[in-house]
């Protein structure tokens, strides 16, 4: 690309979902004017455009909004500030020295030299290919988010009799959505003994419509040649192996998969950004700066959030920090690695580099009741918090005050969890 003259921008943000737009607004409000947001879709909003259900914004705006309404609030803030968004534009490559190569129909391929980059590309759905369900390969198997796009944006119903595999929130939301539009949802199978969705979605999307959540169940076979005609489901044992005697056929023409989300980091890899195996996103410090200098990450590309509100909050953290980076005020005196004990699956950030209060976001690996979450340096306990209930589906936070961070002498600390005896 050396023969192409690159234009320069102070800040390039990749993705105009809640995290990217919130990052742009925060960077602008802290003094950076030369901001470009690049979005591959034909409108800003990201995945919120198809999330027409309510439950957004309680945390950010103290009122309950639908996805499009929540996105519109940020879109307005971006527009009021005159921040440029390039729509229908796909970023093809970013380099460790922050050259962004993108393509669209009007300008063709072009390269921008960015002072800083914020990655806000969101996540994608785990698909059937990643699950390997035995049986035939008929039409009628969709990820829940694809079905959501068909129903809510394009007006197509994927089918009439539905089984849902996985109890992620999108699957639960789609169980209600398809029921309201006249389909029959016969079962939601969840391989784990607990649901991964929010309790209120279990109550309002399944229980309201008498849809049975089948915990410790999975789909073991697909049937049908051209179109799905049914699935075989089975209960699983403690090792998640199907129990032969519990196999049962359910007639259906549609299987929706709601089995997890994966941060979409192909671009990050091209910029040598180090990824965390647990989150699937970049390893970052408390400013959300990745291992590649000047490249920051926020929202679902960093780790999958429960609420769009939290993705937007994280965008604001990155947006503010980028301003400090660009003005030479990002003070990083140390690099303390936060280790986890396995019960705590991951934390974001993974590194602490300054002397300010730092909030760690974390997820646990199982359901724990009456437990204590502690942060330790060696044997020394820095901080502990009592928790009545912890679940993998609910992201938790713990804040390390500056005074405690100042007391850390080594370069690692550990976060762990103890259940009451």
């Amino acid at each position: 690309m050396s023969d192409i003259t690159a234009s320069k921008r102070a800040l390039v943000i990749i993705g105009a979902g809640p995290a990217g737009m919130s990052a742009a607004v925060a960077a602008y409000d802290h003094g950076i004017r030369d901001i470009l947001i690049i979005e591959r879709d034909n409108a800003p909003g990201g995945i919120l455009r198809q999330c027409i259900h309510n439950g957004f914004g309680l945390h950010t705006f103290k009122e309950e909004l639908t996805g499009p309404e929540f996105a519109y609030r940020f879109e307005e803030q971006v527009r009021e500030r005159g921040i440029e968004i390039k729509l229908n534009t796909m970023v093809l490559d970013i380099t460790p020295d922050r050259m962004v190569t993108a393509i669209n129909e009007k300008e063709g391929v072009f390269t921008i030299e960015a002072g800083a980059i914020i990655l806000a590309m969101g996540c994608r759905e785990r698909s059937k290919g990643a699950l390997n369900i035995p049986g035939t390969r008929p039409a009628g198997v969709f990820t829940a988010g694809t079905a959501q796009k068909y129903v809510n944006m394009q007006g197509y119903m994927p089918g009439k009799e539905v089984v849902i595999l996985g109890s992620g929130d999108i699957g639960l939301i789609m169980a209600r959505r398809m029921t309201l539009e006249g389909a029959v949802v016969k079962a939601v199978c969840e391989i784990m003994p607990y649901s991964n969705g929010l309790t209120r979605n279990i109550e309002q999307c399944l229980n309201d419509f008498n849809i049975p959540p089948l915990l410790s169940h999975t789909v073991v076979k697909l049937h049908g040649r051209e179109r799905l005609t049914g699935v075989t489901i089975a209960e699983v044992d403690a090792q998640r192996r199907p129990i032969e005697s519990t196999k049962k056929f359910i007639q259906c023409d549609t299987l929706l998969l709601s089995v997890g989300l994966i941060p979409e980091n192909e671009l990050s890899k091209s910029a040598d950004v180090v990824l965390d195996r647990m989150t699937g996103g970049a390893e970052v410090d408390e400013f959300r700066q990745t291992s590649t200098e000047g490249i920051f990450a926020c929202g679902n590309v960093l780790h999958v959030h429960d609420l769009a509100d939290f993705a937007a909050d994280e965008g604001a953290i990155a947006g503010r920090a980028v301003v400090d980076y660009l003005t030479g005020n990002l003070k990083q005196q140390k690099r303390i690695r936060v280790l986890t004990d396995g019960r705590v699956r991951y934390t974001v950030p993974q590194y602490i580099t300054s002397g300010k209060d730092v909030t760690l976001y974390y997820r646990v690996s199982n359901i724990f009741r009456n437990a204590t979450v502690g942060i330790y340096e060696g044997e020394r306990k820095l901080l502990e918090r009592r928790k009545i209930k912890l679940a993998p589906g609910e992201m938790e936070t713990i804040t390390l005050p500056a005074s405690l961070i100042a007391s850390i002498v080594g370069d690692t600390i550990r976060i762990g969890l103890e259940e009451d005896k």
Binding site: R49, I52, H53, N54, E64, L65, T66, P68, E69, Y72, V151, N152, M153, Q154, G155, R177, L180, E181, T199, R200, I202, E203, Q204, N207, D208, I388, K389, A391, E394
Partner: protein
């Protein structure tokens, strides 16, 4: 009638058992709740559950517009409301917040646009 429900007021997720009379709409007995808000939630859920309905409506000339109720409606009216909404059309220039169907089924709740058409 007896019902078990999981409280959604806070992340604790108490399992509340409620015994109530369907005809007199009276709660006879409640166990499992840990706070006052949980008690109120469980009572409302058994006596008069309400829900915000979100769906789409056709736009005149093509396309779909996301819409919602501006106030929660009685849960048992959700399917009736869907029938009304699926027969309706939104104008091409509908803006976010515009009333698309006023006072749906006499509930006092309007169906409003949740995006620009």
């Amino acid at each position: 009638m007896k019902r078990k429900l999981i409280c959604i007021v806070c992340p604790k997720g108490c399992e509340i058992s409620v015994e109530y009379d369907e005809t007199t709409k009276e709660v006879l007995n409640m166990t499992g709740h840990a706070c006052r808000r949980g008690e109120e939630y469980a009572r409302a859920e058994c006596i008069a559950p309400k829900r915000t309905l979100t769906t789409t409506v056709r736009i005149k000339g093509g396309g779909l517009l996301p819409v919602r109720t501006d106030k929660p409606i009685p849960r048992e009216l959700m399917f009736e409301c869907m029938k009304v909404i699926n027969r309706a059309e939104a104008p091409k220039d509908a803006k976010i917040g515009d009333v698309i169907i006023p006072n749906i089924l006499g509930t006092g709740s309007n169906i409003i646009a949740s995006a620009n058409a």
